[in-house]
Amino acid sequence: MKYRSMDMLAVIALTCIAITLACTVPANDVAVRILTLPLVFFLPGYALSALLFSGQTQDIVERVAFSLGSSLILVILSGLVLNLTSDGLSAGSWIALPGMITLVVSVAVLLRRQGQNAANPQWVGSRYSFPTGQGLLLALAALILGGALALSISGAGQQPYPGFTQLWMLPASGVHAKDSVQLGVKNMEKTAMDYRLVVNMGGKVIKQWSSLDLRVGENWQTTLAVPAVGQNSPVLVEALLYRPNTPTTPYRHVELWLAT
């Protein structure tokens, strides 16, 4: 009797573990949190198909298909239900609903199996194990797939694209909105860069940074106070970024109309 319900006891245990992990492990600890995946893809459907096929035998392929299919269906319908709650589709609600469904259905299966004389799950046993030679071949296949994955991920990460530099200018926020601007430079070139930044207002230079030395990926930004804007018309503030090898040709150029 107990052996016959080992699968459901395992489902309950895995569900409890998944719920515990989801509640206690921080969201950025992906390596551990990934163990909660069966709660979406497998456990609810397994419990449900065990209930639906109570007293019937199912082969492993059909059981897997039912577990996966039913789980996806349950999660989609759960999402529609969660949308009606105030918390909506949040981490907490996703832990609660599929977890509770799985546990309740699992207990129902256990109760239903009491007194029944059903067969053991067909897939329990050594039928699906591999002889050593075949196991090694499968390990080799996994190794090749791992190699292909590593090649593609590293290749895409290092794909040669032209480098670029971002220059931006926005009105400052808060009480200084009218008399200051925010400026930023980000170096996304292939090498470290030494820039010169010039800010003009009404045709006159109001500020100059003769050497902005930025490493690859480095972001520089500042808030610059500008002279008071006149009463009649908006004033143009202009920022020009130069590279050392072309000191007279602007490399990047932004401009901002400051309202009166």
Binding site: A27, N28, V30, R33, T36, L37, L39, V40, L48, L52, F53, D59, V61, A65, L68, G69, L72, I73, L74, I76, L77, S78, G79, N83, L89, W94, S126, R127, P131, Q134, G135, L137, L138, L140, A141, I144, L145, A148, L149, L151, S152, I153, G155, Q158, Q159, P160, Y161, F164, T165, Q166, W168, L170, P171, K186, M188, R252, V254, E255, L256, W257
Partner: protein, 690 residues
């Protein structure tokens, strides 16, 4: 062993014919699935069970490695070898496994394992192309919906890229669940969801075919033929709603068939699962639910006709067994209810395309318009090569020639099986879809129907193939059938792979969807999200619209969401009253200009995402793109060389009189930069706002 398996297949096929109605309710699968009898030594028995599966797995994964190498060649701009290597990889991935599945020797276990390996490997070939983030056009549309749910925690948020996507949120719900529970980014969570859905599709298809035919060989072949359809590798592996809805629909159809073999008291419980599955399909994808409804209706009609004919022939009362009728009714009710709930948006979305197809067909029939030239590219890119055209034509011809054999096999062996007859009827649509390729809109429609059509087509063709193989002269016929299936596969892959430039990743191209997604565009969009804050109305070209709406979290204007099409804002040679009027009418706050648009024609034919635009014939004038410079009240706030962002909020608000009140406010920047962090961010939750 061989003889046993062969005779088992024959017996099952004969059984399916002989028992008529009972055949599809209690197909003799148990006999077919029975493992070989246990032998004295465990190891040889286990080795026989798995057969060639481990060795073929190695060969098939070598195919994946070749494809990965081809992708790497594309990234490094190698000219000669990547494309041949890509096709060699795809052949190595599929052909050895296919040849094994033709044989009568593999056990059921080996067949299923081989199909799973091929499925995983095909899925990886799509994933490895762009393994850092979603890059395909359709994927961006759904990423936006997934992001909206992640930030708002609620469904049905307005999606500027594809408004209807928000009302069919099944895929995004599952992705949200995975993302919330595991902490994975939407990209990885979505990749996992689609991977699982693909696995469900293949398992459900195999089980469905096996239960219908009672033959593991036929089921394996049919599933393999389905995998050979162009949509399987190139479309249904995308992060898009059909990629989840179709597997769910096939699963539901399998459950309907499976229900027939259960005792009456258990049928009711399974009926609840069927209804829940139908609801999940209906809320996941409109087109799939319509196709499922049509199939279930046809299946119900055929069932009823067959039942009446059987009753009339036997002259006695034959009980009408549980079939697809109530499922068809429930699908119909749920579909209508969801259409009402979503304000019939699916019709508004699909109707223009259908109307356009009908119009074009009418024009061609009336000789008022020439038919579309097949394999002709009206874009700047190179067209399809001769060998690719030959492969595609050969594939279609092989299917057309194979259909009569399949239909004959259906009539001979499965004439009492309502599902098989329905599948036979559905395959008659295939020649029509080929004709639809002669129209511009119809070609899109035909491409979209192939994933559905191949469910029936694969079964019918496999039935024909098995029928041919079971007659005399098996050796030569086996070679012939294998050659035909490989040609079908190769031609369909060529058809599905699209334009040659889209086959491999590579350097930036103008208006080339995935090939136009690169770090500078992403960087500009991320800057917009970090410094402008989300939710501003932005106008741009097709690709930057996608980036601004997803990475940038902006309300990027599209043809569907704008009051007036925004393309003229960028195309107009001058910043005149026309441009000002569009900016005002659409309340546009920022214009994102990509100067690279002036360097080449768009590879896909158009710079913008409006269906009504004619293909571009000349590159956009650079002066038209830079016309915003120096215009009073238009601030050039961002410059990364190729991409410029202009603040046009003052112009959009001019008629109202008062000065703009919603100026951009700098927000706290996100920390992005180092290459490792750049890669890492796509895999972790921290790409999304918490």
């Amino acid at each position: 062993m061989t003889t046993d398996m062969e005779s088992m297949d024959n017996r099952n096929l004969a059984g399916a014919t002989a028992t008529g109605w009972a055949a599809w309710h209690s197909a003799p699968v148990q006999e077919a699935v029975a493992p070989p009898a246990a032998t004295a030594t465990a190891t040889p028995a286990r080795a026989q069970t798995w057969g060639w599966f481990p060795a073929l797995s190695v060969i098939s994964t070598l195919g994946v490695l070749l494809v990965a190498l081809a992708y790497e060649g594309g990234r490094l701009s190698a000219l000669q070898w990547p494309v041949p290597l890509f096709w060699c990889g795809l052949l190595l991935l599929f052909v050895p496994v296919a040849l094994r599945l033709f044989s009568t020797k593999p056990t059921r276990q080996e067949r299923i394992a081989l199909l799973i390996v091929v499925t995983i490997n095909f899925y990886l070939t799509k994933y490895l192309q762009y393994p850092l983030y979603f890059t395909f056009y359709d994927e961006f549309l759904h990423v936006r919906s997934a992001q909206d749910i992640a930030t708002s925690h609620h469904l049905f948020q307005p999606n500027p890229l594809l408004p209807i996507s928000a009302f069919y949120p099944g895929l995004e719900i599952v992705t949200n669940a995975v993302s919330n529970l595991t902490g994975l980014s939407i990209f990885v969570a979505g990749t996992l969801v689609i991977g699982m859905a693909t696995l469900l599709l293949v398992l459900s298809l195999y089980l469905l075919y096996e239960r219908l035919s009672g033959s593991t060989r036929l089921a394996g072949l049919a599933t393999l033929l389905y995998i050979a359809n162009p949509g399987f590798v190139f479309f249904d592996t995308m992060f898009a709603y059909e990629s989840l809805a179709l597997p769910l629909a096939i699963f539901v159809v399998f459950v309907i068939v499976r229900r027939g073999s259960l005792p009456a008291r258990q049928q009711a419980a399974l009926t609840l699962l069927i209804w829940a599955g139908l609801a999940a399909v209906v809320v996941t994808h409109h087109l799939t639910s319509f196709a499922l409804l049509a199939f279930l209706c046809l299946w119900s009609i055929v069932s009823l006709l067959l039942w009446k004919m059987t009753r009339a022939r036997q002259g006695q009362k034959q009980p009408l067994l549980a079939g697809p009728r109530e499922a068809a009714l429930v699908t119909c009710v749920l579909t209508i209810l969801w259409l009402i709930y979503t304000n019939w948006q699916a019709f508004a979305y699909l109707a223009p395309n259908l109307a356009s197809t009908m119009n074009q067909v009418t024009q061609i029939l009336a000789h008022k318009a020439p038919p579309r030239q097949l394999f002709h590219s009206n874009t700047a890119s190179a067209g399809t090569s001769l060998w690719e055209r030959i492969a595609a034509y050969t594939s279609a011809i092989c299917i057309l020639l194979g259909l009569p054999f399949g239909l004959f096999a259906i009539l001979r062996r499965y004439r009492a099986n309502a599902f098989a007859l329905t599948a036979g009827c559905v395959t008659l649509i295939y020649p029509v879809t080929l004709l639809l390729h002669l129209t511009q809109s119809g070609a899109e429609l035909a491409n979209r129907t192939e994933e559905f059509l191949f469910v029936a087509l694969a079964f019918v063709l496999a039935a024909g193939a098995v029928q041919v193989l079971q007659t005399s002269g098996a050796g030569r016929r086996l070679a012939l059938v294998a050659a035909v299936v490989v040609m079908i596969y190769f031609g369909q892959m060529v058809l599905g792979s699209g334009q040659p430039w889209s086959l491999l990743p590579g350097p930036y191209m103008v208006g080339a969807d995935a090939r136009s997604i690169e770090p500078e565009g992403i960087g500009a969009a991320e800057w917009a999200s970090a410094y402008l804050g989300p939710g501003h109305i932005v106008a741009s070209d097709r690709n930057n619209t996608l980036l601004m709406a997803t990475f940038g979290e902006q309300m990027a204007e599209t043809a569907g969401s704008a009051n007036v099409p925004v393309s003229w804002v960028l195309l107009s040679p001058q910043f005149g009253s026309g441009v000002r009027a569009i900016l005002r009418q659409d309340d546009i706050q920022y214009v994102v200009v990509d100067l690279r648009l002036s360097t080449a024609l768009p590879a896909i034919g158009t710079y913008f995402n409006s269906a009504n635009l004619q293909p571009a014939t000349t590159p956009i004038n650079r002066a038209a793109l830079t016309k915003f410079d120096g215009v009073q009240d238009v601030s050039r706030i961002f410059d990364s060389g190729d991409i410029i962002i202009y603040n046009v909020e003052s112009i959009a608000r001019q008629p109202a009189g008062p000065p703009p009140t919603r100026h951009a406010r700098p927000a706290r920047p996100k920390k992005l930069s180092q290459p490792v962090a750049w890669v890492r961010q796509f895999y972790l939750w921290d790409i999304l706002p918490q």
